[in-house]
């Protein structure tokens, strides 16, 4: 019995999953030993991250959003958020921030159980989220370390406008690189950056192939619940590494094999047997009840064929690849192109394209309380996409890592009602199609 066959029974993971786990474990071990090994540590954010640049300076990235979501999945976020609120943080604000602050106050213990190292630099890539700016102001107060500010302009007109790339490049040259040189004592090595960018592009090709495999019927992957695992290495500390290249090559092989065998996506309870609904999802998932949330879909035979959340760390499917021949320009274009840096009309276009290109039966918006960048305007987006696609959408409300805002019964009721509606709609459409031939022969 192969590992994959065992997976179908829900007992064993695919080799790519095990590889990713080893990569993550290794990264946290390096972080735990950073002070001893002398490696410098830079905290930064997922959207608009400059991982290749950081790795070229041999620094270790820490991504506070990832720490927060992992705290959520490990059921620690409630405690951390409560601690931050005791320190004066409002109930109304982003729970990623409060979870991170609370984790810091509780000793900054990472997912492996060892304390995370303090940052030598905060790289504030201000891309698509105003809260990032406040977040690192707060962390600077705690850590008393420098901040490298990278302001990434917003694509308000649906495209990268003249001067934007140059502006970002100039900031990388005058702000980011000098600060990295200062903390590491190394000079900027452009050849090294080019080399890493080349590896990034290879991995990006394979990620796109994996995500686009969802156009098959049945889809071999779930692009949202499974997708958050697939994007992990490329969106975090591994873009530009040989590890990432090998991981994505392996993931692609596994996906292609699933297509060849006509298999559906892997879920926590094994391979999905019947694909009843194909959905597009907008918005981040809830992390505190991630598996329960997922089960509300896979138990109904619903598979997410495309999602916007898996584009927060880069929009590769639209052709962007890191280009080693233009190292800083390509990093700037990458920062500018992340999903949450797109205008609302551009986001509506993208979701509508997904519904059409992936032949989805419907789309769902998971609106999270914490994230104004995602959530403000989603009700307008819902109506726009419905109008353009002629398909009804579903709207649910949860949060990222605050368990107080996940009401399982409410969410389940809404999702089930939505599926019933899709089913009914399908019956009506099928009925209409079946009636057509008889109508043709009926006497006038």
């Amino acid at each position: 019995m192969t590992a994959e066959d065992k997976q179908e029974t829900g007992s064993v993971r695919e080799p790519s999953m095990l590889r990713q786990k080893e990569m993550t474990q290794g990264h946290y071990e390096r972080l735990a030993q950073a002070k001893e090994s002398g490696q410098k540590v830079v905290y930064t954010f997922v959207p608009g991250n400059l991982t290749e640049l950081l790795l070229a300076f041999d620094v270790l990235p820490v991504l506070p959003e990832i720490n927060a979501l992992q705290s959520g999945m490990r059921k620690r976020s409630a405690k951390y958020i409560a601690e931050a609120e005791r320190q004066g943080h409002s109930e109304d604000v982003c729970t990623y921030v409060k979870c991170d602050i609370g984790m810091l106050l509780e000793g900054n213990v990472g997912p492996t159980g060892e304390p995370l190292p303090e940052p030598d630099l905060l790289l504030l890539s201000y891309t698509g989220c105003f809260t990032f700016l406040k977040w690192f102001e707060l962390l600077r107060e705690r850590y008393n370390c420098p901040v490298a500010m990278l302001h990434v302009p917003y694509q308000s007109q649906g495209e990268i406008e003249p001067g934007m790339v140059e502006y970002v490049v100039e900031q990388i040259q005058t702000e980011v690189i000098p600060k990295l040189e200062e903390i590491t004592g190394r000079k900027y090595d452009e050849d090294r950056v080019r080399e890493l960018l080349g590896l990034s592009a290879q991995a990006e090709d394979d990620l796109v192939a994996v995500l686009e495999s969802a156009k098959n019927k049945p889809s071999p992957i779930d692009s949202y619940f499974g997708g958050v695992y697939y994007i992990g290495p490329l969106f975090t500390a591994f873009r530009g590494t040989q590890d990432a290249v090998e991981y994505y090559a392996q993931l692609r092989r596994e996906t292609e094999e699933r297509i060849a065998r006509g298999l559906g996506p892997i879920t926590p309870v094994g391979t999905m047997q019947e694909e009843r609904f194909r959905l597009v999802v907008e918005g981040p998932p809830n992390w505190t009840h991630f598996h329960q949330f997922w089960s509300m879909f896979h138990e109904q035979g619903a598979v997410v064929v495309a999602s916007t959340y898996t584009k927060v760390g880069g929009l590769y499917e639209r052709g962007f690849r890191h280009d080693p021949s233009r190292p800083l320009q390509t990093l700037a274009e990458y920062c500018l192109g992340c999903y949450t840096n797109l205008s609302l009309p551009a986001r509506v276009d993208m979701i509508s394209d997904y519904v059409r290109d992936y032949e989805a039966d419907g789309f769902l918006i998971n609106s999270v309380k914490s994230c104004n960048s995602f959530s403000a305007g989603q009700l307008v987006m819902l109506r726009e996409v419905e109008e353009r696609c002629g398909q009804p959408g579903a709207f649910i409300e949860t949060d990222l890592v605050d368990p107080r805002y996940f009401s399982a019964s409410n969410v389940k009721n809404r999702i089930e009602s939505y599926f019933q509606m899709l089913e009914q709609r399908r019956s009506v459409q099928t009925g209409t199609k079946q009636a057509t031939p008889s109508e043709k022969v009926a006497p006038s």
């Binding site: 320190q87 004066g88 943080h89 409002s90 109304d92 604000v93 982003c94 921030v97 504030l124 201000y126 989220c129 105003f130 809260t131 700016l133 406040k134 977040w135 102001e137 707060l138 600077r140 107060e141 420098p146 901040v147 500010m149 990278l150 302001h151 302009p153 917003y154 308000s156 007109q157 406008e161 003249p162 001067g163 502006y167 100039e170 900031q171 005058t174 702000e175 205008s343 609302l344 009309p345 986001r347 509506v348 609106s367 309380k369 104004n372 960048s373 959530s375 403000a376 305007g377 989603q378 009700l379 307008v380 726009e384 409300e397």
Partner: protein, 427 residues
Amino acid sequence: MSPDSHDPANGGAPLNPCGGCSGPEALAAPARGMQSSGHAPLDDILSRCEGLYFDYDHEAVAEWKRKHPTGAAVGYLPVYVPREVFHAAGVLPVGVLGAGEQLEIVRGDACFQSYICHLPRSVVELGASGRLDVLDGMVFPSTCDVIRNLSGIWQIMFPEKLTRYLDVPQTTDPRVGQQFFRQVISDLFRDLCKLTGRKPEECDISGSIRLYAENRRVIEELNALRKTSPWTVPGSEAYLVLRAAMVLPVEDHTQLVRDYLQAAQDAGRKPQDHARVSLCGVFCEQPPLGMLRTIERSGCAIVDDDSMQLLRWLPTDLEGGEDPIDALAQAWCLDISESASRFVPDGTCKGAGFVKTVQESGADGVVFAAPSFCDPALLDRPMLVDACEAAGINSTSFQYAENSGQMQPIREQTGTFADSIKLWSDE
């Protein structure tokens, strides 16, 4: 005319200034102990300002456009836009700061979840109900994610109107930020000129810069008097006078402030022994007028606040020089004013600028009043509270919405705060 609008024939004054939704606290104005002496010019000035405050239908803007048939009017949201280039392009800049506590929100609520602040709801309501039809466009500055996304909603809802997002630089290097912002302002200026048909190269931006600098100078005078003699210029009155800058042409507003200053000083109001407070957090979603009056009525003199920050930023002696757009961009980048919507660069302690402002205002304490669900204000607050504590400045905190109606809890809280300052501030 819509049922909840106001009758301009009634001197521009509201038919029902408090609409029964703000509770009895907001009904009587001005606050106790700050009564006008009955000096006619002062009453007239304040009545005019209040009329403009409640002018949700933007009758004053429509009137301006009737008088300036080749002109255009473009709205903007908080916190900062370079109004000078609007003026130079022949465009009346109109601050769209929400609809306070008067307007019933229906269509606005349909666009936003319960956990989004109130300002965008009332702005959408104003737009969807036709109250902003008089505007030829809207500019949304990079204040927060909600206003940023509101620019996209506007593009969808009003595709025929000019909609621009103003990306204000956050970079700490003035040279780099200045170059970028120069381009941003130039693009905006070009778009504004298209509305009026003016040729950009023929516009006198330097002249506009001088007019706005003059406006800042008289506002600085007003704020100075407010600090030294808050009974002469109560915070709620100053607010109304400054708020008028959102709809009046700059020349008119400068004269209005001058007239108010003269009238207020002539009114001969008696000194009061109120606790002097600085109000912080009201830079975007506006505090209800009733809330300001409630704070005053509870025994606080609001000697400073962070509302309408764009009236204070940039130097009062700014000149256009050879490249006026570059001068504006440079002035912004070199301005070191602290704000929740601006990144505080390395080398500057977060809150240090705020503490300095509080100390210069002579305030005895700070009232942190943040709008519910306002990320910039609420994420800033713990840092500012810490900075105040380190400097020995007392503070109290609460949240509000522009349509808050229940003022009694606020009155009790700020009243207790005022008492504590009076009783124990020397200890």
